[in-house]
């Protein structure tokens, strides 16, 4: 018996070390097959397909010719796309800044051991549970000049009051910002509040003993500590800026005119209504590039660099 085991052991030692484990991990590998397929076909495959299409002259049906950057040149010259891109910047800056400022203030104020803390939190966050379509329809109704806010103020005696942003080419984009902040500020608050609750209470005691005023404490001591949460919230908000679509469709339909068009809507319209696949996919590819630019540093900081530390 001893010799048999020795020989078995010898072959075991000679074999590549990791091999027997693959057999043991087989059910695990099989369980991951559906996901692997989805990742391969959809997340990688469809993405590459879209990028490839953006270099063709496809219109109604996909073609596999190669026209170089022609579609991108057309995009840059396309009024609607330029407006869409500008709108993304305007909306993005105001929406992110608004959500962060309002979210931070709400989080800090709620953190002051206020009465009815739970109720306030619930109220600030509930819009986030609703769809953008509902949000858009609700704000469209409230801000419509005929029967909404404008009429309300006029009826109060200010007959010259005008609030026609919704139908004003110059101002319509700002109504989207308002509705967006209404929808998203609660999320920012929730993330920052979770961060605030993680701040060591002894810091506040120390600051109080040192005579530091509360606003100074929050600005100089707490805010830097919340940096990771602020970054996380910013990235999330930025992603939703790029994805912005439902809200526009429900609230302004891109109008008046093309005043509130956004890239996501541009893509959808060109792919499914205007039968201009190549132009649509080119715009989609630009959206992809934008997102990669936003998240690459973040992913790097969070996962790659922290992995090295571990």
């Amino acid at each position: 018996m001893a010799t048999v085991t020795v020989r078995a052991a010898a072959t075991g030692a000679a074999a590549p070390a990791a091999r027997p484990r693959i057999g043991r991990g087989l059910p695990a590998a099989l369980a991951l097959v559906p996901t692997a397929l989805i990742v391969l076909v959809v997340y990688v495959g469809c993405m590459l397909w879209t990028v490839r299409l953006s270099f063709t002259s496809s219109t109604l049906l996909p073609k596999f010719d190669f026209v170089g950057l022609a579609q991108y040149e057309r995009l840059i010259l396309n009024d609607r796309f330029v407006v869409s891109a500008q709108n993304t910047v305007i909306f993005g800056v105001l929406f992110i800044a608004g959500c962060l400022v309002l979210g931070f203030l709400l989080a800090v104020f709620i953190d002051q051991r206020v009465k009815g803390e739970g109720a306030f939190r619930t109220v600030f966050l509930f819009p986030y549970s609703m769809s953008f379509v509902v949000t858009g329809v609700a704000w469209q109704w409230f801000l419509n000049p005929g029967l909404g806010l404008e009429k309300l103020v006029r009826d109060m005696g200010f007959s010259d009051f005008t609030f026609d942003w919704l139908v004003n080419q110059e101002m319509a984009i700002y109504t989207l910002v308002i509705a967006g902040i209404w929808h998203g500020a609660g999320l920012t608050m929730a993330i920052l509040l979770a961060g605030l609750r993680g701040v060591d209470e002894d810091l506040w005691k120390a600051a109080r003993v040192d005579g530091v005023p509360p606003w100074r404490y929050y600005l100089s001591i707490v805010l830097p500590l919340l940096r990771p949460m602020v970054v996380t919230a910013t990235v999330l908000l930025a992603i939703s800026v790029v994805k912005l679509y439902d809200l526009v469709v429900a609230m302004t339909g891109g109008g008046p005119g093309i005043a509130t068009e956004v890239p996501a809507k541009f893509v959808m319209d060109h792919l499914f209504e205007r039968n201009n696949i190549a132009l649509g996919t080119a715009a989609a590819t630009l959206m992809l590039v934008t997102v990669v630019i936003i998240i690459a540093p973040w992913i790097y900081a969070r996962y790659v660099r922290s992995k090295g530390r571990r």
Partner: protein, 294 residues
């Protein structure tokens, strides 16, 4: 009163700062509640009153007529079957999508946390990045693929799409949850002779109830609120409630019935609002877990 040493409880102070704090919070609360309030009261008013009255005023004669109309006879284009059609479509989409996406996410999270599979890290990395990519990047090829498979514009199609795009968040959620479970528990189960599925079903899944609740909340609200996938993949027969709402509100037929629009909007918001108010802190936990991504 003579100057004396302080004694007894500290006097309750309502400092100006404190008043300002409450004033700010209350103002904010009004800002957040106003649209909901306006939706609600508008939906309870007849059109006459809406045209003449104040948008903020309570209805003089509250009526549920608009709600009934919105539910069963509001028009989208030529069909006048109300938003109830969309409601039931959403339910039919929701149930299989939620179950399948959570099941797949839980298995993935478990496999990625406890088992060593070649290439798993790469898989997870791609999935993670995929969570951030705008859907527009995938839509057109997906439509082509589903057309080729012959399931485009069907219930199967929209459910598959929800499973596909729910995958990153669900996997991440469960992976992080299982990463928090001591590896020793897994080792003990291995020594006791558990295999991949036994350990998952008998040890891990019973421990995952909190995450299952969070995932359900996240997926129910997420899928119910979806617009773009329903619009693109569900087909005319299966349009979810959000798409129908949008069609009703922006239907160009005749005068806009704001009370019916608002009633339909309220109806469309009801399910997520109910989930939100019932689940309370779980919802917060869910978006924190789903949002913070690792």
């Amino acid at each position: 009163m003579s100057a004396s040493l302080p004694s007894g409880p500290r006097p309750r102070r309502l400092t100006p700062g404190r008043i300002g704090l409450y004033a700010f919070l209350l103002t904010a609360a009004v800002f957040f509640l106003l649209p909901l309030w306006i939706m609600l009261i508008t939906s309870l008013k007849p059109m006459e009153e809406i045209r003449l009255g104040n948008i903020l005023a309570l209805p003089m004669a509250p009526t549920l007529e608009a709600w009934g109309k919105a539910w069963s006879s509001a028009c989208t284009g030529l069909d006048c079957n109300g938003i109830s059609v969309g409601f039931w479509n959403s339910v039919r989409i929701l149930v299989p999508s939620v179950i399948l996406s959570i099941a797949l996410g839980a298995v993935n999270g478990y496999a990625l946390s406890f088992w060593r599979v070649k290439g798993a890290n790469v898989l997870f990395g791609v999935l993670l990045v995929g969570a951030f990519i705008p859907y527009q990047v995938f839509l057109y090829p997906l439509v082509r693929i589903f057309s080729q498979m012959g399931i485009y514009n069907s219930l199967t199609c929209i459910v598959l799409v929800h499973v596909i795009f729910g995958l990153p968040t669900m996997t991440l959620l469960f992976r992080n949850y299982y990463a928090g479970i001591p590896i020793e528990l897994f080792k003990a189960a291995r020594i006791d002779g558990g295999g991949f599925w036994t350990i998952f079903l008998r040890v891990m899944l019973p421990m995952s109830v909190p995450m299952l609740v969070v995932a359900t909340i996240l997926q129910v609200t997420g899928i119910w609120n979806d617009f773009i996938f329903g619009l693109t993949f569900a087909g005319r027969e299966n349009l979810p409630m959000t798409v129908q709402l949008n069609n009703i509100v922006h239907s160009t037929q005749g005068e806009r019935a704001y009370n019916v629009d608002m009633a339909a909007t309220m109806l469309a918001a009801l399910v997520p609002l109910a989930v939100y108010f019932v689940s309370g802190r779980w919802f917060v936990r869910g978006i924190a877990a789903g949002a913070v991504k690792g």
